[in-house]
């Protein structure tokens, strides 16, 4: 049962991803989405061809930096090429990776394989567990597991929140999201995501600022927001 991905990054986001101008954490969510979405695989390939051809079509003044070019060319061609053996070993890639939580094992996309292996410990709170992935200081990238029949308290995002469904299903006021769907919530969006009674959910979560919980007792969670961040 393959799920048709319904929520994609927009063309502009994909263009910035291909160009390499997105911040690394956002690019990681986009990349993992692409691993799960044939439509966006084709699109990012097309954008890559488009951008590469534009680069090759540019008019440049070949007189610029003429001397430097000669030196650089001499330096490069004095370097050894890699041997055939190293060539093949460099190409070895991407076995399917998986993570285990709550007694279950989930397959995860290629883009997350290396980082997920180095994840921090799972922290549990109610039916929710998070494990931070090792990324640079300012980024908050984590795996988020939500047990079946669990509601994440209603919250507002102080920054950008990206959630990519890796397994299972999650619903909120705006709809239902399955494997490969990418939810992007901007600052001030408020929502209450929850899982269905019979299906849990594993997500990748990228936050550019902490969450703020809005209602009653859950406001007490605000001091605990590091848990989600």
């Amino acid at each position: 049962m393959t799920h048709a991905v319904k929520f994609h990054p927009g063309l502009m986001l994909l263009e910035q991803y291909v160009e390499g101008s997105l911040s690394a954490d956002v690019a990681l969510a986009v990349s993992a989405h692409i691993d799960l979405c044939p439509h966006c695989q084709q699109q990012s390939k097309d954008i890559t061809n488009d951008q590469a051809s534009s680069l090759a079509e540019q008019q440049v003044n070949s007189r610029d930096a003429e001397q430097e070019w000669q030196q650089m060319l001499d330096f490069i061609t004095s370097q050894p090429a890699i041997s055939a053996d190293t060539g093949t070993s460099i190409k070895v890639k991407s076995q399917v990776a998986s993570v285990s939580v709550n007694g279950k094992t989930f397959e995860i996309p290629r883009a997350l394989a290396r980082l997920a292996e180095q994840r921090n410990k799972w922290l549990h709170l109610g039916g929710i567990a998070t494990a931070k992935l090792p990324t640079a200081d300012k980024q908050h990238v984590s795996l988020l597991y939500i047990d079946k029949g669990t509601e994440v308290p209603n919250h507002t995002h102080l920054g950008l929140e990206m959630t990519l469904v890796l397994a299972g299903k999650i619903v909120d006021e705006n709809g239902e999201y399955g494997v490969g769907d990418l939810l992007i919530n901007s600052p001030d969006d408020t929502h209450t995501p929850r899982t269905l009674a019979d299906e849990d959910c594993l997500c990748l979560s990228v936050l550019s600022a902490p969450l703020k919980f809005n209602k009653g007792l859950t406001r007490l969670l605000n001091p605990l927001q590091q848990f989600f961040y």
Partner: protein, 219 residues
């Protein structure tokens, strides 16, 4: 209304056409032709052919430099990126696989990845997101272009005309040649001196963009 679409498209084209003609005559001096760079890379891969590499270098290095200056905003880092990327082209030429894409795409992605990792190293430690995590150096299953045919009729509708003008120039040019001048993909590739794959990519992207634009108008 239909005529207006065709006319405005045609008009936009004739000025563009001159520019392209000019550019093509310039490029003919360099013997710029689809397939040339793939052949050169093969020679480098097989014999470490320095002459073939020098040709690749003199064409791509200045263009990568322009890309680097745009992305870094300074020349020093741009040149560092060019050297690192072009060194990879020299050393890893045998990893190039023409069946998976053309030479310019391969070289562009190398430079993009080098640049990304240069930025990351500056900012942080080794446990971090790297270019290898973000960009899969392999093939994804090709999803065959689904329904461009249904688009012929929609393309002609007046609703699309304003969006057509909003396409990036490179994509609009290809669309115009294919849909208004009714040229084959191969003819467009020859005429614009861009790889056939890029012609197909630009058509798909333009269709996606038009679809997005239409969806936005509806909602």
């Amino acid at each position: 209304m239909l005529e207006t679409t065709a006319l405005s498209g045609h008009h936009a084209g004739s000025t563009k056409q001159k520019r392209i003609n000019q550019r093509m005559t310039i490029e003919t001096d360099n013997e710029q032709r689809t397939g040339q760079w793939e052949d050169a890379l093969t020679l480098v891969a097989l014999h470490q052919d320095k002459a073939a590499y020098a040709e690749l270098f003199s064409y791509f290095a200045p263009r990568l430099r322009a890309f680097g200056i745009k992305m870094f905003g300074n020349e020093q880092q741009a040149m560092e990126m060019v050297q690192d990327a072009m060194l990879n082209v020299w050393r890893k030429a045998r990893l190039f696989d023409a069946s998976r894409g053309c030479a310019s795409t391969w070289i562009f992605t190398i430079a993009r990845n080098v640049r990304f990792d240069m930025l990351r190293k500056k900012q942080s430690r080794k446990d971090d997101i790297s270019a290898d995590d973000l960009w899969f150096d392999g093939d994804y299953p090709e999803q065959e272009s689904n329904n461009s045919d249904n688009w012929d009729t929609i393309l002609m509708s007046e609703k699309l005309a304003p969006h057509f003008d909003g396409l990036p120039p490179a994509q609009r040019m290809v669309m115009q040649k294919v849909y208004l001048e009714e040229k084959s993909h191969q003819e467009v590739s020859d005429e614009l001196a861009i790889p056939l794959g890029t012609v197909k990519s630009r058509i798909r992207l333009a269709l996606d963009r038009l679809r997005e634009a239409l969806d936005d108008t509806r909602s």
